[in-house]
């Protein structure tokens, strides 16, 4: 709540009325000002702190913590795991993004049902979801590390290829694909800049910044959410949470954006 008020105040203080289109979105200018005010602080830290407690807490029907969860670098290794995701997991025989993997551990280690972990994946401002807290904790442990999804197992390569194809196929009442909005440099919708997610330049910057705390919604959003919301704008039916299609798109983005140092969770409009 305190954060929310501070953000709103910062935004109001920097709002100078209509600007020329060539200038920066005033909300973005507001966020920059807010960043300066708080230094490195970001409300995502609240999520991370709650996530760390949750991670270590004996929870679920099995009353055990997630501390033995294997996020890809061995049981219990959290540091750097996000930077090397998505990846193939032999025990599940599929490619998983970090969110899918954390939920897999909640099911297999803690004994939550699959329905439980899928029930409300995307929180609201006053009701954050547990997975977003856990996610914030796990990704923060990769801060400053190089984004390096392995992309070597045949299923990882397959996921990358599928993700790339999904990115370009047009369908639906508006004939859109992801590339309709993210296929060229320096485009915008209204004043929001659209990263060109077909090239490393923009994809690196974009991928290294997610998950992100959004000032406009006062909450932390995961990449699973981002893709869900873009499919809504694309006027498609809804993609299932943690499905192979969504994980393939995340693999495509992570591989296209590899090599960048992880900077998230970041603060966005």
């Amino acid at each position: 709540m305190k954060y929310r008020i501070a953000i709103m105040a910062a935004l109001v203080a920097t709002w100078t009325g209509p600007v020329l289109a060539q200038e920066k979105d005033p909300t973005i200018a507001g966020i920059e000002k807010y960043r300066e005010m708080l230094g490195d602080d970001n409300p995502a830290e609240l999520y991370e702190a709650r996530g760390e407690i949750l991670w270590k807490k004996a929870d679920g029907p099995n009353r055990v913590s997630l501390e033995k969860c294997d996020l890809g670098l061995g049981p219990g290794v959290v540091k750097g795991a996000y930077a090397q995701s998505p990846r193939y997991f032999a025990d599940a025989d599929r490619v998983m993004d970090i969110e899918t993997r954390i939920n897999w551990c909640r099911e297999k280690i803690q004994g939550f049902s699959s329905a439980d972990v899928k029930k409300k994946p995307f929180g609201s401002a006053d009701k954050p979801s547990q997975i977003e807290d856990l996610l914030a904790y796990v990704v923060t442990a990769s801060k400053g590390m190089k984004i390096a999804p392995p992309n070597s197992h045949p299923k990882e390569k397959e996921a990358y290829e599928l993700g790339k194809a999904l990115f370009f196929v047009r369908a639906g009442p508006y004939d859109f694909s992801c590339a309709s909005c993210h296929g060229e440099d320096e485009k915008r919708i209204r004043l929001q800049g659209l990263p060109n997610l077909t090239t490393p330049r923009d994809t690196k910057a974009s991928h290294a910044a997610w998950p992100a705390y959004r000032v406009s919604t006062s909450r932390l959003h995961s990449m699973q959410w981002r893709i869900n919301d873009c499919y809504r704008q694309q006027r498609f039916p809804e993609p299932g949470y943690m499905t192979d299609s969504v994980n393939a798109l995340i693999t495509y983005l992570a591989v296209t954006g590899e090599g960048e140092l992880y900077k998230g969770p970041s603060l966005k409009r």
Binding site: L162, D175, P237
Partner: protein, 217 residues
């Protein structure tokens, strides 16, 4: 949307044949061309992993011929194929029966501003409540500085082209079915898919062409 049930693979293969026959000399602006096999896999994955929500039903993943050809050619179909598609899309145009293309530019401005409609947050198909999303992609009236750049600027559209019946008809047709003029246009086919109705399109034509509209001041 009218569905044309040509099997995807057959179309892709005939396109591959055309390309192989040496017609692919055209300058490509496409960044990427997906193989017929990967296109099939992508649609199979979506049909397995996606679900209907409100008005966003699964049949939205059943592509029509324009979408199939654009997907198979990375949005750059060989010239004669593009011409054929454009002719077919032109044949779908339903122009106003009264021969009048111009509505009220003020109402048009509101429609251009609104991005509402056709998503899974919309409970019903109600074109009269939909917006055109026009400012998402185009500069239009000079006082609106929050405009997108996916499409060209339409500032001065009527002044530049002249407020003629011809210009009005072109604007109406372009909004009704953008693919009648550019087979793989990024712009949606608003009239063709029932996202906007006749009155709304007329209002938008007025916004672009009416000499009284701020677009042409």
């Amino acid at each position: 949307m009218k569905k044309i049930n040509t099997p995807l693979l057959a179309i892709s293969m005939s396109i591959a044949a055309v390309l192989a026959a040496g017609c692919a000399t055209q300058q490509s602006h496409s960044m990427h061309q997906t193989s017929p096999e990967m296109i099939q896999k992508a649609f199979a994955a979506m049909k397995r992993d996606f679900h209907a929500r409100a008005i966003a039903t699964m049949d939205r993943l059943d592509t029509d011929k324009v979408q199939d050809v654009c997907n198979a050619t990375g949005d750059v179909p060989p010239e004669e194929m593009a011409a054929k598609l454009e002719a077919e899309q032109t044949a779908t145009l339903k122009l106003p029966a009264d021969g009048n293309y111009m509505g009220d530019w003020k109402a048009g401005e509101k429609i251009a501003q609104s991005g509402r409609g056709m998503t899974w947050r919309d409970k019903k198909m109600e074109p009269e409540k939909n917006g055109g999303n026009c400012y998402n992609c185009h500069q239009i009236s000079p006082q609106e500085v929050s405009y997108g750049t996916i499409g060209p600027s339409l500032l001065g559209f009527g002044k530049i082209r002249g407020n003629t019946a011809e210009t009005q008809k072109y604007a109406y047709s372009k909004i009704y079915n953008s693919k009648a003029f550019n087979a793989c246009s990024t712009m949606p086919r608003f009239g063709h898919v029932g996202a906007l109705n006749e009155k709304q399109i007329k209002d938008l034509v007025a916004l672009l062409v009416d000499p009284a509209s701020p677009v042409n001041k």
